[in-house]
Amino acid sequence: MKRQKTLETSANNDNLFDLLSEEIVFTILDFIDTNPLDRKSFSLVCKSFYITESKHRKNLTPLRQEHLPRILNRYPHVNHLDLSLCPRINDNSLNVISNTCKDSLNSIDLSKSRFFSYNGLMSLALNCKNLVSIDLSNATELRDSAAAAVAEAKNLERLWLGRCKLITDMGIGCIAVGCKKLRLISLKWCISVSDLGVGLIAVKCKEIRSLDLSYLPITNKCLPSILKLQHLEDIVLEGCFGIDDDSLAALKHGCQSMKALDISSCQHISHVGLSSLISGAGSLQQLTLAYACPVTLALANSLNRLSMLQSVKLDGCAVTSAGLTAIGNWCISLSELSLSKCLGVTDEGLSSLVTKNKDLKKLDITCCRKITGVSIAYITNSCTNLTSLRMESCTLVPSEAFVLIGQRCQFLEELDLTDNEIDDEGLKSISRCSNLSSLKLGICLNISDEGLSHVGMKCTKLTELDLYRSAGISDMGIIAISRGCPGLEMINMSYCVDITDRSLLSLSKCSRLNTFESRGCPHITSLGLAAIAVGCRQLIKLDIKKCHNIGDAAMLPLAHFSQNLRQITVSYSSVTDLGLLALASISCLQSMTVLHLKGLTPSGLAAAVLACGGLTKVKLHLYFKSLLPQPLFEHLEARGCVFEWRDKEFQVCP
């Protein structure tokens, strides 16, 4: 932003920008994509900048459908329209979109929108000939007629229909016949779709690369035709209970293009069926078997010769040491392994596994509660290239083991140590991982400001820090972090009771902060939050539940500066009608949790929710339901807002 301004001032008289070709300005604009406010500033400089920015913009994420006609006129070259922040999109809006964008539009996301029907989709499909991607997830009210409308989009390549529960084989059949170029289709939770619809997709859409059939009532019948697809790379069969070993036997005829297979929660698949993968899907790279058959020696042996395999996910499976050892003896070296919530992971199995897989980049051993420091020693010894290690709740791992992680795995970018015994020594060691961007230290009761200061000093790339209930942390640690990690985007310091406004004042320097959670911090006040509001303009999510000392004084600057705020939780705080009404002026605000506010009156609440036009979700105490007129709620629901009622007793905070 500053750079633009300097350029602009220097060109003030001679208008040097006229000398630059549009392409060059576009290239410059490409670099200021991170913060939406920067682009806004740019476009407000002068008319020519305004026009340039309008021409440059390709992606649009509008918040309200009312503004669609105007913004679509302003941005004629938009090709991706993300409407996931518009809860209400009716057929009218879709007509406007299709008539304005016409052939320039090639992607539209309607995944969180409601209130449109097949009429709108039909107009979209008929007018926007170049549409290649439609996301209709969660359109639970759409029926086959809507699917038939989608089928008119002949050039469609990607289609998401997750949770479209009313669309049946007939609708899918229309899509299969109409959209011949489909490369990706997701039918997750489309529970009315059966073998027939899926089979027809496989017969008609030969270009399919990616197929998500999770939780469909499909059986062995449709699988042979699916596996004949020449280009199929990624297939998800999660929770398809009708699929069994016999189905996978169809793989024996070969599906060499297949790269990723997910058969999580398929209870009827055993190592017998999986053994057909070896002959059939030799180029498989990614295999997900979460919550499926037990990982035994037989299973490990059946997958022995998959030479291209890179990633295996066995989350939630029962695991034997012999099985893990056998996986270790596979001829290949995995780069990604997930054993989270696996029962039966022991030091013996895990250590023999990791010794062989020296190239492991990502390892997830969340909730492997039996492993000790021995495993960590083996892991750190052999897998020195780890970039991601998730080991939440490995409670038997002693504090010394975490020192090893810092010493040996210096390429770590993501580290989840939630609920572990790590202490300041460990943190000091971990601070050597200079690439660390995400660090989770929730419920680590042994850490203090000292350890965190080391992290703050060395891990300059940190963007995400979770200190939930790490009660040893106070202002010193937070200040160190905010000084050392200017790129911090997310911080959670809920229930770190010693935190005061000093922390917040220093955090307000982290201008990229978008998620700020400080539940149950009684010492922070409106002053601190006001500083955050002023400093962190990109704030999207704010949770100040049970911060008793935060009141309306913080809401006013918040309403003024945090124009990007989408989600706020102000329960048990001192916010009153005034503060809430102020918040209502934030046009982006979508979700509001307002429980147990002493100073809140029914009329104040009503005024706030009415004024806040973009609301999609409001959590309220049941108490208000009877005090406010029913038509009010009906009106708001028609605007796309959902009310959630809570009937919890007021909790007195300690």
Binding site: D144, S145, D169, G171, V177, G178, L196, L200
Partner: protein, 527 residues
């Protein structure tokens, strides 16, 4: 089966009290012989199953049945079995009687005669009464008078029939002794007692002056003309049948026809007889369009199938009940070299006409009839539901009506399917075809599916009944294989299952064929 068992069965088959009333009434109307109790129980059993049929029948078909005379006749011809059982119960009882005691029993004869005497007395009283009334009220009661006349005619008919059968029982009873059946009497024996040299004989003066087709079919050129000696018989047939068995017959008839219609084109498919290896017969148009081709020499009643006629003939006396009389006429000549007969369509230029270059013969008379009607006649039967589909063969209409509106799986090309998988197979096969979605999408297709299944189930049981009955008409060879198997629950379904017997042949028909309407039902074909 023990009497107690039988009673419980009756209760099972006859759950509603309203059903109970009718059989009893009927048996009172037609008082039987001395062993009345047994007969009544039997009759009750039969009637209840028939009543079940009546309940199941669909109203549109009933209406239709009443509207069309020819159809009614057809239906009555098809159900010769029940007819034997209830309308001519005198005969039936007689038949049972004779078979129960294989030897001719003079005491039975005496019983019969005394019963007849009693009945004549009753009639006499009735006529006396009428005469007395006529004196009181002169004219004005035309309706009453006709009713009375009908009553008397019916009684007279019944008496005559019983008299004839009583007399007729004399001759075959001798034969019974010779043929030495098992002493406990199998059903085949008493239902179809040996019938000496009975041959189906056409009756030219009856119907629309049609020449009989039968001689062509059987190869026997005999054209015996026999005057209608028992005129009352037919009347009684009709008045008895109209109310009770008429409805039953409709359903039975319906299912027969439904399967028949498929036969024609399939029948000679794959058959590759070299030209000249068979006799070509060609019927005239009038013959083809005649409603009946087989006529009873005694009462003149017309039938579509000779087997039905044979079944009917049993009612005319024991001489028609011999295995020989009941056997297929063809079978008798099977020892001689059989000349294959094929049929030609009289329509010049038709592929089925013998003068056509690529002549393809028709296999049976039935094929000829259906072919001629379908190809060369007006399609005069219009579906009352959709008002678009027209048919020239009644059975085709009925089949269509059964499914009309049920074909909810629609393709963009306009083709409808009754099953979703068939539609998807069709779409997978053709380029550019796509499922057609109705504008107003109806909710809950699964519900209607369930309903449909229920209907199918009931149809199935109906078909089972029918299969037996029609087979009896078609071949009779299966019926003769009878064994006692009272425990078989399948017998409960059959209207023909007598209390002591079950038909063993029943199980020989594979059930799935009844589910699949496309499978051929060659065994139903007229020989």
């Amino acid at each position: 089966m023990e009497p107690n068992d039988r009673l419980s069965l009756d209760a099972w088959a006859n759950p509603s009290s309203s059903c109970n009333g009718l059989p009893r009434k009927m048996s009172l109307e037609n008082p039987s012989f001395t062993n009345f109790n047994l007969q009544q129980q039997e009759q009750k059993w039969d009637d209840t199953s028939i009543l079940n049929y009546g309940i199941r029948i669909e109203p549109p078909f009933l209406e239709f049945n009443q509207a069309s005379e020819s159809e009614y006749l057809l239906s009555s011809t098809c159900n010769n079995q029940p007819k034997v059982l209830d309308q001519e119960d005198g005969l039936n009882n007689e038949a049972l009687q004779t078979s129960k005691s294989l030897d001719w029993d003079p005491r039975t004869m005496l019983n019969n005669l005394s019963f007849l005497e009693q009945k004549i007395h009753h009639l006499q009283d009735l006529v006396h009464l009428i005469v007395g009334r006529k004196g009181q009220a002169l004219g004005g009661h035309d309706q009453l008078v006709t009713q009375q006349q009908q009553l008397i005619t019916a009684d007279l008919t019944s008496i005559i029939v019983q008299l004839i059968s009583t007399a007729g029982s004399l001759l075959p009873s001798v034969k019974h002794k010779l043929s030495t059946g098992p002493p406990n009497g199998q059903l085949g024996e008493f239902l179809f007692p040996p019938l000496a040299g009975m041959n189906c004989v056409p009756q030219p003066q009856h119907g629309s002056g049609s020449k009989a087709v039968q001689p062509l079919q059987h190869g026997s050129g005999s054209k015996a003309v026999q005057p209608q000696c028992v005129t009352g018989s037919k009347v009684s047939d009709q008045c008895n049948q109209m109310d009770v068995t008429g409805s039953f017959g409709t359903e039975q008839n319906l299912s027969i026809e439904e399967h028949e219609m498929k036969e024609e084109e399939d029948a000679d498919e794959g058959e590759n007889l070299p030209p000249g290896s068979y006799d070509i017969l060609q019927l005239e148009k009038e013959e083809i369009l005649a409603p009946h081709t087989h006529f009873c020499t005694i009462c003149g009643k017309g039938f579509k199938r000779d087997a039905n006629l044979r079944m009917h003939m049993r009612g005319h006396g024991d001489e028609y009940k011999t295995p020989a009389a009941l056997a297929k006429p063809n079978k008798e000549s099977s020892l001689e070299p059989v000349i294959i007969k094929r049929y030609s369509c009289p329509f010049a230029g038709c592929k089925r006409n013998k003068d056509h270059k690529k002549f393809q013969p028709l296999k049976t008379i039935l094929c000829v009839k259906n072919h001629y009607k379908r190809t060369h006649c007006d399609k005069s039967y219009i579906c009352s539901r959709c008002n678009t589909k027209k048919f020239s063969v009644m059975a085709d209409l009925k089949t269509h009506e059964k499914h009309c509106g049920k074909d909810k799986w629609l393709c963009s090309c306009g083709t409808t399917f009754s099953r979703k998988d068939k539609l998807f197979g069709h779409i997978a096969l053709f380029q550019g075809h796509t499922p057609a979605i109705p504008l107003e999408e109806t909710k809950g297709p699964s519900l209607s599916c369930d309903k449909m299944d229920g209907n199918e189930a009931s149809n199935k049981s109906g078909n089972i009944n029918f299969s037996f009955g029609s087979n009896a008409g078609g071949g009779a060879q299966n019926i003769i294989e009878v064994k006692e198997d009272a425990d078989d629950p399948a017998s409960y379904f059959s209207p023909l299952s007598f209390d002591t017997c079950n038909f063993g042949g029943f199980h020989e028909f594979p059930r799935p064929t009844f589910d699949d309407s496309e499978s051929s039902f060659s065994f139903l074909e007229a020989p």
